[in-house]
């Protein structure tokens, strides 16, 4: 974009990142839309084709993806784990290097959002319903399920000091290893967009490697893959999440779980998400994220106090120390004997975080102008890790205590005796006072968590498919948001949600290479920035 008339009076730019590309030059404008050709068309068609194929060949696709997912997470275990380790070390090093002082958006940039608004949006987009879905499920599963076969590193829980090893495993999956992926993608996109002046889309990050070729097929490929990963990841969550809400409705209000109920839930969630994207970033997405965080904090403190605050704090300190001590062993890809934990969960999680990273990374990038690199990494890596760990250790720890005392039959039935993951949270809440008040709140919270992922996801897909334009016509957001809901409904009724999840995880593998390359790209970009 070097040939801007009158741009001399603006900032002078790095000659190294100077390009003649004009934002929107490849866009086509049928019916008053403003869409990137071919990214919009290809991703739209591929999504629809995938859904039709999955519906037409249900058995074959279920079989294929049923095979593909474990194949990838067990054959590429070393690749995923080593890659995530590299990303984590890279992030930690950035905090201490001089380039940590670089400010996103240039030396004089002011943050667009206050700390609470910024962190609330980062969280609400990034973890989806993870905290609610897995907070009770994961720690109790590792501790007790499969007759102890799923314990991290095969650690014996009967030894004193190891009672909460399941929580340590959970923190591993929701802590540094996950958030460092988002941080790398987010930081890279933010720097290339706000500091280097390239469009807000995935391909821009590859300018140091591919040069002008990012505007051609290399770029189309990267962007299309990102749309694919985002849409499939979101749709899977939407479908599976609607099932959890339906389970909750049944447990709380006795409403029978039928397809009609689940479809209505998806329609409802999509409708709220539509309202949010139509109101826009500040009036819709941000407000909803803040409401979401307030409710989550309220639910957290309720559980924190009724299950014993002192116990919760002692336990939290204990598991955090264990986490730091065990992190090297948990991050080692070779000679692992705890395969149920390692292949069943860790590598699956890594692929899943990476599959979500284009979406969350791009969203975080969008809202992070005006922060320094150091501030960004601390707030996008360390802070969420500590908060996720606190949540998991409070919910999971209380549930483990109950089970050890022979209680919590609802959790035992859904996690240990059988596997109905959507029931774990409600089985736990049943044991607490005020169940009739708390459980509807938890239900509403789950719904809002979905909406806040769905709306930010639609904004991201819209921006990518508009070639990096953030001010494309509003009807395009409506299209993507609606398509997410429709795909979720089609696959829920026709079968194939797990196929879709397999597809989403599969996009995580090629994307790992993309994120690794980003580490190098962002570092080379940061070096040339004034501090």
């Amino acid at each position: 974009m070097a040939n801007l008339e009158g741009s001399q009076s603006g900032e002078t730019r790095d000659s190294e990142f100077e390009t003649d590309f004009q934002l929107g030059q490849d866009n086509i404008r049928p019916f008053g839309l403003d869409i990137h050709n071919p990214v919009f068309v290809i991703s739209g068609l591929v999504v629809i084709a995938f859904v039709l194929l999955a519906l037409a060949n249900q058995e074959a696709s279920a079989e294929f993806f049923g095979w593909l997912r474990p194949f990838l997470t067990s054959q590429f275990d070393w690749f995923l784990v080593i890659s995530v380790n590299i990303m984590l070390v890279f992030c930690l090093v950035l905090i201490f290097l001089p380039v940590g002082a670089v400010r996103i958006g240039g030396k004089d940039a002011k943050p667009d959002y206050s700390y609470p608004g910024w962190i609330a949006m980062m969280f609400a987009a990034g973890i989806g319903i993870g905290l609610l879905f897995f907070g009770v499920l994961e720690p109790t599963y590792y501790n007790f399920a499969e007759n102890g076969g799923a314990r991290p590193l095969g650690i014996d829980i009967t030894q004193p000091g190891n009672e909460y090893i399941g929580i340590v495993g959970t923190i591993h999956h929701w802590g540094l290893g996950g958030w460092c992926v988002y941080a790398v993608v987010g930081l890279t996109l933010a720097v290339f967009c706000y500091n280097k002046g390239l469009p807000m889309t995935l391909r821009s990050a590859f300018y140091p490697i591919l040069g002008e070729r990012i505007w051609g097929w290399w770029g189309h490929l990267i962007d299309t893959l990102a749309v694919f990963a985002t849409l499939f990841g979101l749709t899977t969550s939407l479908g599976l999440g609607a099932q959890q809400v339906a389970f909750g409705l049944n447990a709380v209000f006795g409403i029978e779980t039928t397809n009609t109920v689940v479809v209505l839930l998806i329609v409802g969630i999509t409708a709220i998400a539509l309202g949010s994207v139509l109101l826009g970033m500040d009036k819709g997405v941000k407000r909803l994220s803040e409401i979401n965080m307030l409710m989550a904090v309220a639910l957290f403190f309720f559980v924190f106090f009724v299950t014993g605050a002192v116990d919760a704090i002692t336990r939290y300190v204990g598991v955090m120390v264990d986490y730091v001590v065990l992190l090297p062993a948990l991050s080692n890809p070779f000679g692992r004997e705890d395969t149920s934990f390692f292949h069943g969960w860790t590598t699956f999680y890594w692929a899943w975080w990476i599959a979500w990273s284009p979406f969350v990374g791009m969203f975080i990038a969008r809202i992070s102008r005006g922060r320094t690199v150091r501030e960004f990494v601390l707030c996008a890596l360390i802070a969420p890790t500590c908060v996720c760990a606190l949540w998991m250790s409070t919910f999971g720890g209380a549930a483990i205590d109950m089970i050890n005392q022979g209680g919590a039959p609802g959790v035992v039935a859904t996690v240990i005796d059988s596997y109905k993951p959507e029931g774990a949270l409600f089985g736990f809440l049943q044991e607490l006072p005020l169940y009739s008040i708390i459980s509807p709140i938890a239900l509403v919270l789950i719904v809002i968590f979905f909406v806040t992922s769905s709306d930010s996801g639609s904004l991201v897909i819209d921006t990518i498919t508009a070639g990096g334009k953030m001010d494309a016509p509003v009807v395009q957001r409506v299209f993507w948001c609606t398509l997410e809901g429709l795909v979720a409904i089609a696959l829920l009724l026709g079968g194939g949600l797990s196929a879709l999840q397999g597809a989403a995880v599969s996009t995580g593998i090629p994307f790992t290479l993309v994120v690794l390359a980003m580490c190098w790209c962002v570092y080379s970009a940061l070096k040339t920035e004034p501090r």
Binding site: M1, G10, E11, K469, A472
Partner: protein, 139 residues
């Protein structure tokens, strides 16, 4: 009759604005009013500029150009919004307050099907602004 005219412009579509710009200049001369050209941008690089400062500079040189070619008193106001697609109407309404404009002259396309669902920017501003609003349609 009018002291200050607010003229919302989109520098990316100046061709489509020609009619509105000429009318703005004519009105300004007739009433001896000052014109503020206002435009809304996002914080991210767009097709016009890499960042808000560059955008502001372009808008200022545009205003200067208009002032010179039409012999009017003109200034520029660049509004930065986090989500221009949805915030443009409110940003324009705020600009009316901020500049104390008593007349808004803006271009708008002929209403189509979409306007049943989303009013055009001109429509929304006309409905909510205290200032007089002159919506200029395509010829």
């Amino acid at each position: 009759m009018f002291q200050r005219i607010l003229a919302p412009v989109d520098l990316a579509h100046l061709g489509a604005l020609e009619r509105a710009l000429n009318i703005t200049a004519a009105e300004a001369r007739q009433h001896g009013a000052a014109v503020t050209y206002v435009s809304v941008t996002g914080p991210a690089p767009g097709s016009l500029a890499h960042n808000p400062d560059e955008f502001r500079a372009k808008l200022e040189s545009f205003a200067k150009e208009q002032a010179e070619s039409h012999g009017i008193d003109a200034s520029a106001l660049a509004v930065v919004s986090n989500d221009p697609t949805t915030d443009i109407d409110d940003a324009l309404l705020e600009a009316v307050e901020q500049t104390g404009a008593d007349l808004v002259i803006m271009a708008s396309h002929k209403p189509g099907v979409a306007e049943f669902f989303w009013p055009s920017n001109g429509g929304k501003v006309a409905a909510h602004s205290k200032a007089s609003v002159f919506v200029v349609r395509d010829a």
